[in-house]
Chain length 410, copies 2
């Protein structure tokens, strides 16, 4: 790795690229199709682990079970994920099912139950078919592989109807050792299940302190996964889990390590790439939209304003229509409920300045149309009142979004 | 009017039904079509008046001019409204234009400028063609009529591309006199302009105190116009204006009048009917959705939760698809950021109970489908933790919403 290059992408890398991880997936019968519906990532040592959960007050049973397990020791040997059924709104029976998933897989691996995280995505309000889950868990250990094929089978098991596999891997040098950080995610694109659940799984072979990993994951999620908006709805099942095997052999990373900020940047990059992939693959989406807000009174204000713009159905529909409709953008800025000076807003759509100090700037409509027909649209908003900044990602609102979400469940 | 009946609807009634009001509309050339684009309501006496304005921090010029005028005396002789151009994001020149509209119409009527309110709806960021506005204002006085035809011409001038005329009139007995309360509104349904601006105009011939009218209007708007959500976007131009001529001859109404609550109910009913008509006529909408939340910790919590449900794109698309998808409803309840007990939520869709104490209730899918294919869908949510309650209205999310809003501006 060249001097000054903080990290580099590993082409074809996946969650099994970091040392110590195997992954796999199989079809156990929770989905009506024959696609994989049960997947696992397993670490050969008890990985230092951290997780963040949906802010929705209605949380699915597996989140509770995973949280309780992680609180015991902060280490994980495995995550087990099913698709086809969210195990949400299933009461105490659903919680018992999630716990049984955890315990059964732990027994199959010969590890303590609290070192197994469980996650689910799919239909809400129906009990898991535990007979099928049990037989899937029994078959899982021999499916686990340390190569790209294992990671691929895992990705298929969590993808449901996502269009695009979301996986990324980077490597960087730490204390003379090569360290990898990789991730896999599922996002919106679920037709049959009820929710656009977002699941993210990060693996790394770096040695990282537990508290350091927890705070890094939270900070990274705040500026990446939490800054994507497909339709403003938050699932009952959202969860991001990180596991660090420590097998790269570097000195334990934490805020006091001289290269901590470089590791944090690589880790955040992995989260950002997954988040952008989720946004781009939003239900029915044809474009990725990136909204950058600067000049806000605070970063928090900038975040709220970016999310309001990216979440505006009017803005999203205009982007689908390749319409440089800055009126909708400034209207969204104005209703975000955060301080602005209504006379001082600058807006650019890609390279085209459309509003300066809240006054329209004449622009070439053909140039705007050509830019807006691209697959990635960037909107820059400068509030010119402070130094707060944020970036958010979303997608356009299309006929297909309506078609997908108006489809009857059965 | 029968004893005990608080008020009754006047079939065919309109803003000119209350004594003292004339209205009219004409085409002055702000729209490309030959439809009316300038309208006015005029009162033969200085009416006690009140207004509420958009909460968007970016506010169009006419709102500022109207607010300043009303603050002087709290009385209005007229409102003048143009469509085709919102006069928003037009800077000081736009403010001068709004002021010229006010002053020119005041001169034409022979009244003080501060007794004229102005409102605009249409494209953002373009200057008004004032030559056309001036010639329209000059022609307006002879268009004013005290009958239904005048009200109709006014409605056409504010409707732009709304599909349905939104007008309502009720009458009730006060101190042995017949008092009328009427309203007209425009809502979403604007294809060419950029914003789904909402404008409401209430006329009454009741004698009402100024402070009483102001607080009544604010309270009524809070539970009606402010409880509709078409797409969550708030226009820079939203405004509701109420004028009371006092010509019915009743004793001045205020909180101390024995029949105040009955008048307030009639006034609120007028606002509610207009709000529901706006929601039902949302861009591309095929259904009115009414969300009732009860059992919340406070009314304010109930309002926030109702608006989150009614604003959920996933819920809206499910209603379009006649899908009794309660998973999306409880997920929206859970992410509203207000206190709930995730284990205690009841949900009904129309007459069909689908969730009880957060557990799914088996229901007949055919019965649900038949109900959801109707034109009005009611969703009841009981949080079972308090006595707070609220009602909100919205519409479904359809292919036509996307088509309308993805359409290029020109």
């Amino acid at each position: 790795m060249g001097q000054g290059k903080p990290f580099e992408t590993v082409p074809g890398g996946s969650v099994t690229t970091p040392l110590g991880f195997r992954a796999g997936g199989l079809h156990c019968g929770l989905k009506k199709t024959d696609r994989n519906d049960l997947g696992a990532i397993v670490c050969e040592v008890p990985a230092v682990a951290a997780a963040v959960y949906t802010t929705n007050q209605v949380q699915a049973a597996p989140l509770k079970v995973t949280r309780e397990g992680l609180e015991k020791e902060g280490r994980l040997r495995a995550v087990l994920v099913n698709s086809g059924n969210a195990n949400a709104c299933t009461g105490e029976a659903g919680e018992a099912d999630a716990r049984e998933m955890q315990e059964t897989f732990a027994r199959a691996l010969g590890v303590p139950p609290h070192q197994v995280a469980v996650a689910s995505t799919g239909v809400i309000g129906e009990r898991l078919r535990m007979d099928r889950v049990r037989s899937g868990i029994a078959a899982m250990p021999e499916k686990l592989r340390a190569d790209a094929e294992g990671a691929e089978a895992f990705c298929q098991a969590i993808l449901t109807t996502d269009l695009v596999k979301k996986t990324v891997c980077v490597k960087l040098d730490m204390d003379g050792k090569t360290v990898h950080v990789a991730g896999a995610a599922k996002g919106s694109g679920m037709i049959h299940p009820n929710m656009a659940t977002m699941l993210g799984f990060i693996t790394t072979d770096a040695a990282v302190g537990g508290e350091a990993l927890r705070s890094l994951l939270r900070q990274a999620v705040d500026v990446t996964f939490n800054m994507i908006t497909v339709d403003g709805d938050t699932s009952t099942n959202d969860m991001v889990v990180a596991m660090a095997s420590g097998l790269a052999g570097n000195d334990e990373l934490g805020p006091d390590h001289p290269d901590w900020s470089r590791f944090a940047a690589a880790f955040t990059h992995v989260c950002e790439e997954l988040a952008k992939a989720i946004a781009r693959d939003g239900e029915g989406a044809t474009k990725l939209i990136e909204v950058r807000v600067e000049g806000a009174a605070s970063d928090d204000d900038a975040r709220a304003i970016a999310k309001t713009v990216i979440g505006s159905s009017l803005v999203k529909a205009a982007m689908f229509g390749a319409d440089a409709n800055w009126g909708r953008i400034i209207a969204a800025v104005g209703r975000a409920g955060r301080p602005i000076d209504p006379a001082k807003v600058d807006i650019s759509i890609g390279p085209i300045r459309v509003l300066e100090q809240s006054r329209p700037v004449p622009f070439d409509e053909d140039e705007a149309l050509a830019y807006l027909k691209g697959g990635t649209i960037r909107i820059d908003v400068n509030l010119n009142i402070g130094t707060g900044r944020a970036v958010g990602w979303g997608c356009d609102l299309t006929y297909d979004y309506v078609r997908i979400n108006a489809a009857y469940r059965t």
